[in-house]
């Protein structure tokens, strides 16, 4: 290749990348999905699952007959003295309805020689109410404790839900921008005969594909910074490991999903086909790959499969870096799993790509 040609080729790559940038930032929709959506999601989920002071359990005391009213009042008084219990007196019908709809977690009924509890053992808050209420009532009625326990209370950053969530959102973001951003853009270009038009010029096909990956890599820091900064400022979610490891992990993930986007769009003639494919592929990963809750909740039998999914590997690597402070060597295996997907999809995409 002569010098002139090499310079021309550089110019072509720069122009292709520039065009991608322009198309990206002039499309308000793509800006939102890339930058706004992860922020909104982290705000909403962060608030929903923020660490609250332990809430009192809600309990009803039921008055079955008028002559039991005095006993019921007595129980209410005992319970009301405890900070851990919120208590109401209700008729049996009201109490049953409240229990059924979850407004109260337990119903206390005075019985001849004590109290009866009505509760639903499948509801965690009912189980909690059962044990707290029993404790308070027993003590109120004169039970002596065997000893006075001491306890120390820990809420450490790193073990909260938001610490778990943020790396998952980073992974999710990398997956959706890669798949949707690239897959959809390519399918649309093909529908509009733009790929055909480009192929009619001396443009190198490799430059064209490269420009997609290049822009993906260049946008990555811009895309991650707001979410990480937000998580750090608002929720105090930090990065334990090095930013270099985090950056490399995110880059491997971004490129893998970008290449998968290329692959899903490599033959499709219209964007609907591509969006169908992407939905089919990404939906299981939303659920199983540990974005919102740990993938270890699934049965052991499917764990090997889940572990091989690219998003699972990426999320594991991101969490290891951000929460546990893992180094590059520690996450290399996970990154390898992810990159393998990328390489396989890349080879297939190049082989199958429909240019005309």
């Amino acid at each position: 290749m002569s010098d002139v040609e090499r310079r021309a080729r550089m110019r072509a790559i720069v122009q292709l990348a520039l065009a991608r940038f322009r198309i990206f930032y002039r499309e308000p929709g793509s800006m939102f999905w890339t930058f706004g959506f992860p922020l909104v999601l982290s705000i909403v989920l962060g608030i929903a699952f923020r660490d609250r002071d332990p809430e009192p359990v809600v309990v009803a005391v039921e008055v079955a007959a008028e002559d039991a009213r005095a006993r019921a009042e007595h129980a209410r008084e005992i319970l009301a003295r405890s900070d851990d219990v919120k208590v109401k007196v209700m008729s049996p019908e009201e109490a049953s309805a409240a229990l059924r709809t979850g407004k109260v977690s337990l119903v206390v009924t005075p019985s001849t020689d004590g109290y009866a509890y009505r509760w639903d053992p499948t509801r965690p808050e009912s189980r909690l109410a059962r044990s707290v209420t029993d404790d308070v009532l027993q003590r109120g009625e004169g039970r002596q404790d065997a000893y006075e326990p001491t306890s120390s209370i820990v809420t450490e950053p790193g073990s909260r839900y938001i610490d778990f969530l943020v790396p998952g959102l980073v992974g999710l973001g990398l997956m959706s921008t890669g798949l949707w951003g690239i897959g959809f853009a390519l399918a649309e270009m093909r529908t509009k005969k733009l790929i055909k038009r480009l192929v009619a010029t001396p443009m190198r096909r490799s430059d064209f594909l490269l420009s997609f990956l290049l822009v993906r890599a260049l946008l990555l820091p811009v895309e991650l910074a707001p979410l990480l900064a937000f998580a750090w400022l608002v929720f105090d979610v930090g990065v334990r490991g090095s930013f270099l490891t985090l950056g490399i992990t995110a880059l491997v993930g971004a490129l893998t999903f970008a290449v998968m986007g290329l692959f899903f769009a490599c033959r499709a003639d219209n964007p609907h086909v591509v969006s169908g494919l992407i939905n089919i592929v990404s939906f299981p990963m939303y659920l199983c790959s540990g974005v919102f809750f740990s993938s270890s909740r699934f049965p052991d039998a499917v764990q090997p499969i889940i572990g091989l999914l690219p998003l699972t590997a990426l999320n594991d690597a991101l969490r290891a870096t951000m929460i546990d402070g893992a180094g590059l060597a520690d996450v290399a295996g996970k990154l390898g799993v992810c990159a393998t997907w990328g390489i396989v999809c890349f080879v297939l995409a190049i082989r199958l790509f429909k240019w005309r």
Binding site: V14, Q15, R26, K196, T201, P202
Partner: protein
């Protein structure tokens, strides 16, 4: 001033290059065939030759196979059979070399919505090792005012002009234009004609398809009429019109034409025997006569109708055009 002009005049270098050592024939194809996957035979043994420096027009009704032919010649479609030679080379062996030297405007392309005119041209220019100056190209297609307008804000005509600009920006020696002026207003059409004529003047060759006869007559040195994927006539517009044998067309509507086809054909045949009349057909509800001497033919025709007691409902005459050639050759109008 003169220097500046030379610097911005587009196409000069490539035209010079083209005239030196370039083959005499820009496009040659023989026995071209294309059968689509669904079995449609779009091109069926088509022969074509476009000489250097010539503008060749492909005419034909919708579905005749023009776009298919052009895209095969552009190296964008694989032919099912036949030989193609562009600028003396073949797509299989010299794709890169050829891509540097041809300019393409597809029948329909949607350029990126969010790129401006200038950005789009810069993008296309960047693919070519040598090409035209962006500003000169913008001026050439009169898009200076829209230089910074995004594609999705352009009118249909402006988009079409940008598409042609993208074809020119690589400074090609051979230009393919598939229906470049369809849907344009008269002014934009004339502007594009000037662009094509200027390109030709600088030594470039053009293959264009069109449905407009005036366009073909104005721009094309030669035209090929194709139908059902075959060339059915080739020549200069004048040669084709002359092949009708007469320079005037007379169209006659009678109030009550004979009901049976045989009677109509017989009447047409007897009209054809009148002095000054070259041929005659019944087509589209009227008799269409090709006439070489209008002053002789017209009185004779009127006399013949009166003799048969046929009342004249309408009569018109015009100079023969390529449209008439097409109707004569295929029995169908060019634009259906």
């Amino acid at each position: 001033m003169a220097l500046e002009h030379a610097a911005t005049a587009p196409g000069r270098s490539e035209a010079l290059r083209a005239s030196r050592g370039a083959p005499e024939v820009s496009i040659r194809c023989k026995g071209l065939r294309k059968t689509y996957e669904d079995g449609v035979v779009a091109v069926d043994g088509l022969d074509l030759e476009v000489r250097r420096g010539e503008c060749f027009g492909l005419l034909g009704p919708n579905g005749a196979g023009k776009t298919t032919t052009v895209e095969i010649l552009e190296g964008l479609l694989e032919p099912s059979g036949g030989e193609v030679e562009i600028l003396g080379r073949r797509w299989e062996t010299d794709e890169r070399w050829l891509r540097e030297r041809i300019g393409v405007s597809l029948q329909e392309t949607h350029l990126p919505d969010k790129l401006t005119v200038r950005e789009t041209l810069e993008l296309f220019r960047s693919f070519f090792v040598e090409g035209r100056d962006i500003d000169a190209t913008i001026d050439l297609v009169a898009l200076r005012e829209k230089e910074h307008a995004k594609f999705d804000t352009l009118s249909g005509g402006q988009r079409q002009r940008l598409a042609v600009a993208c074809a020119l920006v690589g400074d090609p020696t051979l230009l393919f234009l598939d229906e470049p002026t369809t849907g344009l207003d008269p002014q934009s059409r004339r502007m594009l004609w000037d662009v094509v004529l200027a390109f030709k003047e600088q030594g470039g060759s053009v293959l264009l398809t069109t449905h407009y006869m005036d366009e073909a007559e104005r721009l094309c040195d030669r035209v090929g009429v194709i139908d059902h994927g075959k060339t059915i006539a080739v020549g200069t517009p004048k040669e084709l019109i002359d092949s009708l044998g007469g320079s005037q067309i007379v169209e006659i509507e009678v109030a009550r034409p004979p009901a049976e086809e045989a009677a109509r054909d017989a009447l047409a045949a007897s009209l054809a025997r009148l002095p000054g009349v070259v041929s005659s057909r019944f087509h589209g509800g009227r008799f269409v006569l090709t006439v070489d001497q209008l002053h002789v033919a017209l009185p004779a025709v009127l006399e013949a109708l009166r003799a048969r007691n046929l009342e004249l409902a309408n009569l018109s005459t015009h100079r023969a055009t390529l449209e008439d050639v097409f109707v004569t050759l295929t029995g169908r109008a060019l634009r259906e």
